[in-house]
């Protein structure tokens, strides 16, 4: 007779892990304040560096996405720090749960962080830099673009954050590996956002770039699912 399996479903494991992630961030906020402060500071710098009281269209979109991309890198770098520094990774790996639960919980945590930062950063961007006002329709469309890009950023950040945390040069490794892979997301998101941030406003949703973002999310989501298990094998 073989040993009795003792485990919980992946859904329950994700719930337990998510609860722990959010509790840790609520107890000692480390990721969110750093990302939010970076975003707002960068917008202030852009305002003075561009020597313009307002920007619109392609420039506005570029400023927004470059800022959000680097704020995201800051967050991805901190995603596994508590687990790594306090030995929690070993404790997680010892639990009889599917490691996919760790991937999902980290990616969802990162996605929540990105959305919360954008809730702060976007109004700051509009106040500090954006010339044209945003109609409710533009805001809804921009929220959709942000969310679709955030999913891709969260998946890549979670995947390469896990890889980088196991190296000594993790602050170098993470951007070195993640940034080139995020270029298609940022280009698509910037292209999709530009008409929404233009003075003339957008006529319709930029469907081609949204489709690209959706495809990217799907492909890298599946890739992360396939390889994540092996990242923690010695």
């Amino acid at each position: 007779m073989s040993l009795e399996p003792r485990g919980i479903t992946t859904r329950k494991a994700v719930g337990a892990l998510l609860r722990k992630e959010l509790l840790l961030e609520r107890r000692v906020p480390q990721v969110l304040p750093a990302m939010a402060l970076f975003s707002i500071t960068t917008f202030v710098v852009f305002r003075f560096a561009l020597d313009a009281t307002s920007v619109e269209g392609d420039t506005a979109s570029g400023v927004l996405w470059v800022t959000l991309l680097f704020a995201a890198m800051l967050g991805a770098g901190r995603l596994y720090v508590a687990d790594h520094e306090e030995g929690g990774i070993d404790a997680l790996l010892l639990a009889p749960v599917d490691r996919t639960a760790l991937l999902i919980s980290k990616a969802v945590t990162f996605l929540v962080f990105l959305v919360l930062v954008e809730v702060v950063a976007l109004p700051a961007f509009v106040i500090l830099l954006l010339g044209p006002g945003l109609s409710p329709g533009d805001i809804a469309a921009l929220a959709l673009v942000l969310l679709m890009a955030d999913v891709g950023i969260a998946v890549i950040g979670t995947l390469f954050g896990a890889l980088a945390i196991q190296t000594r040069a993790r602050d170098l490794i993470l951007p070195l590996m993640a940034l080139p892979l995020l270029v298609p997301v940022i280009i698509s998101a910037a292209k999709a956002s530009a008409p929404l941030l233009a003075a003339t406003g957008a006529d319709s949703l930029p469907g081609r770039y949204l489709a690209l973002l959706g495809l990217y999310d799907l492909v890298f989501g599946l890739l992360a699912y396939a390889v994540f298990d092996y990242l923690f094998d010695d």
Binding site: L3, K12, L24, R27, E86, D90, L94, D234
Partner: protein, 230 residues
């Protein structure tokens, strides 16, 4: 679990880190319910052995069976029946003992009442809601012991479990991680007399190889001390 299955079976276990052989041909069998005490100087391979048994490292070569299940193939099943207590408490410093243990209970499907029972058993209820980074080393070790036995594991892997503990704390932990627990155990130690007293089988490691493997009554504390000198 097969009632007759040994707790641990190793046959020619090797573990390599790059070109360095950390474990070289370790072979032993530990019967269920018995205690294996491992001695060896720093770098002898004790921690590597514990990590292989804990499924955290894959064996490079050789056969490893834990509770009758082969590693690494059946690691996911074995993990539900293992408890690991190392120098690192594997706890989140910003969470309280209760929060840490509840997290692990949820992750293993253990009723939350078990957390409160264990905290009471190790006399930590009064400070159970304070962040563990405010705890003394002994309190951390008591919380970590609760984490290790939360799911009532059949096999305990203990890396110097009494280090940093006062006699009172050692007494508190005895029913959880000591011989009294009735579990199969692997204990690393640097204390020959104490180690021999609790062993059913003694393994001496030197440079990853087996220096001796014997019953405790075949060894003296002096013979074990020699392992650290030569």
């Amino acid at each position: 679990m097969d009632a007759a299955a040994p707790a641990i079976e190793l046959d020619g276990l090797r573990r390599r880190y790059g070109h360095r052989l950390a474990l070289d041909g370790v072979t032993l069998t530990l019967a269920a319910g018995q205690t294996l005490v491992v001695f060896g100087p720093n770098g002898a391979g004790k921690s590597t052995l514990l990590r292989v048994l804990a499924t955290l490292l894959r064996p490079t070569d050789g056969v490893v069976r834990i509770l009758g299940e082969a590693l690494p193939e059946r690691a996911w099943i074995v993990r539900g029946h293992l408890g690991l207590l190392t120098h690192e408490p594997l706890l989140y410093g910003d969470l309280s003992a209760r929060e840490n243990l509840r997290f692990h209970a949820r992750l293993r499907g253990v009723p939350l009442q078990r957390v409160d029972d264990l905290l009471a058993e190790v006399k930590l209820e009064r400070r159970a809601d304070e962040p563990v980074h405010t705890y003394s080393r002994g309190m951390l070790q008591r919380t970590a012991a609760c984490r290790a036995v939360l799911h009532d594991p059949a096999l305990l892997l203990l890396d110097e479990p009494r280090a940093n503990l006062d006699p009172g704390a050692i007494e508190l932990l005895e029913p959880l991680v000591g011989r009294q627990s009735g579990r199969s155990r692997v204990v690393t130690s640097h204390d020959p007399a104490a180690g021999l007293a609790e062993a059913d089988l003694v393994l001496g490691l030197k440079d990853g190889r087996t220096a001796f493997l014997a019953a405790p009554d075949e060894l003296t504390p002096g013979a074990i001390t020699d392992l650290y000198r030569t």
